[in-house]
Amino acid sequence: MYDFEPNLPPLPGVGYKPQHYRDILEEAAPVGWLEVHAENYMGAGGRPLAQMRALSERFPISVHGVGLSIGGAGRLDPEHLARLKHLVGWLNPASFSEHLAWSTHDSHFFNDLLPLPYTDATLARICDHIDEVQDVLQRPMLLENPSSYLAFAESTWEEPAFLREIARRTGCGLLLDVNNVFVSAVNLGFSPQNYIDAYDLDRVGEIHLGGHDEDEDDHGAPLLIDSHGREVADPVWALLDYVLERSGPKPILIEWDTDVPDWPVLREEAVRADRALAGVLV
């Protein structure tokens, strides 16, 4: 049985983009660690791996998988698990995390995080898959809460309780995406504060923040889309404060994956996260 321990520093981090390589080497502060998508560093060689070797000597690295399909109905892809084991082996990151979602079916990969019904059957399957991942990687992982656009009528668990139970059974930690909480709360009409109150904050090893877009559903109700293509919204920063007051300082990642800005703009988001951390009484 694995037991999660916090490994990333309680500082701002950013999702690493190759166009920021020089900037990060020259003026990273207050960024204290970097996160990369696992699948982008599974090539055989070339610039991506060379950059990651160099950056890993300067910064703690968080490897964030987007393709393991932990919630998939079928078994985990053994080839992909082996690639992950290889990456975690040579890079030795401070943290490995994945999503409460699925993305692969019948060996086809759909490049999106698809939603799951929260049932006892899903719970058992996900726990089996996390056990397998942790056995292969020989370390506990973090599991991230999704952005939801819809709900399953068959669900019998609330999401925070579902995640808490997964962590209890597998010993994994949790990655709390505060933007996802806000997006899901608006989309499904629940209180984000109540969600945070129910979340197992003691097991949170990392926080994510990202920007979202606004749309509408069939009834004209707001429908927020988790796009990672702009600044973090003000109510999400406010929700972060609500989290930090209860959790104490945590590693906070800024995710910006589409329309990636120049380094000073991304760094400014990290500065804002740094101020939020500075306001927390340790």
């Binding site: 699948e39 982008n40 599974m42 090539g43 055989a44 060689g45 070339g46 610039r47 060379a50 987007v66 393709g67 393991l68 399909s69 998939g72 109905a73 892809d77 080839e79 992909h80 690639r83 993305s103 692969t104 079916h105 060996s107 086809h108 990969f109 759909f110 490049n111 999106d112 698809l114 939603p115 656009y149 819809l150 709900a151 399953f152 009528a153 068959e154 669900s155 019998t156 668990w157 609330e158 925070p160 309780a161 579902f162 808490r164 139970e165 989309n187 499904l188 009409g189 629940f190 209180s191 109540n194 109150d197 129910a198 749309d215 559903d217 069939d218 009834h219 707001p222 429908l223 889309i225």
Partner: protein, 276 residues
């Protein structure tokens, strides 16, 4: 934003979780992942029953968020991987061709760096694009550049190792190409079209066949036009034939000095294996 709270108090134990259908005799419809995907991939199909908004109404266009995310992310991956093809046929045609391709051949693994291996053949099979004969070969060139970018690193052969060999030893030896080397033979002016499309000021392509070497000196793959005989020479080297056999395959009009110069300058050779 609705002020409705999470249903039920926050349970800390599984026993305390609140089943939604506790007072209902009707079992909600379970949604299988196969059913979810079926509707995801075919916008003509109804959104599966059992998917709803926060108030229990049918999910409706909320489901379209997933349809859209999948289609857009795969299309953008193809646009990023095949910029010259996209310029040659224009963004609207490219979006249409990419949409057809991603439905026919979704990625077979989560490594998006490998997505699009079959795109060139798929383009060749689209009748409406047949008038652009070179299009599929341009796609092959772009995919080969991407493969080269992610290929394994390798040492670069020191030219002195060639100069030190007797002619007899050289002819019996085998050249080893770097893993980042790719060879593309085309009946079309594929490299000229690629450069004309991607690099402003490049000369207009002339009607001619072109053979292309892709090599990666450090991290950035570069395509090079191969001289006469270059492609058969490299093809022989690629399959492990001796230097002498490759030279024979290259034919009469082959400029060996120019060829070796190109291979050595671009880091295309990683080793030479001599017979003791």
């Amino acid at each position: 934003m609705s002020g409705a709270d999470l249903r039920g108090a926050a349970p800390s134990q599984p026993e305390a979780a609140t089943p939604r259908d506790i007072l209902s005799t009707k079992k909600p419809n379970p949604v299988s992942q196969a059913g979810f995907l079926g509707a995801l991939r075919d916008a003509e199909l109804d959104v599966p029953d059992g998917l709803m908004d926060g108030e229990g109404r049918p999910a409706g266009r909320r489901f379209a968020v997933y349809r859209n995310n999948v289609a857009v992310s795969l299309r953008e991956a193809l646009e990023a991987g095949f910029p010259a093809v996209a310029k040659l046929i224009g963004p609207e045609n490219f979006a249409r061709a990419a949409g057809m391709y991603l439905r026919a051949e979704p990625p077979g693994s989560p490594l998006m760096m490998g997505y699009g291996a079959g795109f060139a053949d798929f383009l060749a099979g689209i009748e409406a694009l047949n008038s652009i004969g070179y299009l599929a070969d341009v796609a092959r060139l772009e995919f080969a550049l991407r493969e080269s970018y992610h290929a394994a690193d390798a040492p670069v052969l020191n030219p002195a190792r060639l100069q030190d060999l007797s002619e007899e030893a050289l002819m019996a030896a085998r050249l080893v190409l770097a893993p980042s080397v790719r060879l593309l033979r085309s009946p079309w002016p594929v490299l000229s079209v690629y450069r004309f499309t991607m690099t402003p000021g490049s000369p207009k392509p002339q009607a001619q066949a072109e053979d292309v070497l892709i090599a990666r000196p450090e991290f950035d793959p570069e395509p090079h036009l191969l001289p006469t005989g270059g492609a058969p020479f490299l093809a022989a080297v690629q399959v492990g034939q001796s230097f002498g056999a490759a030279l024979e395959a290259a034919g009469e009009d082959f400029d060996l000095g120019a060829m070796l110069g190109l291979l050595l300058q671009t880091g295309a050779l990683s080793d030479i294996i001599t017979i003791p």
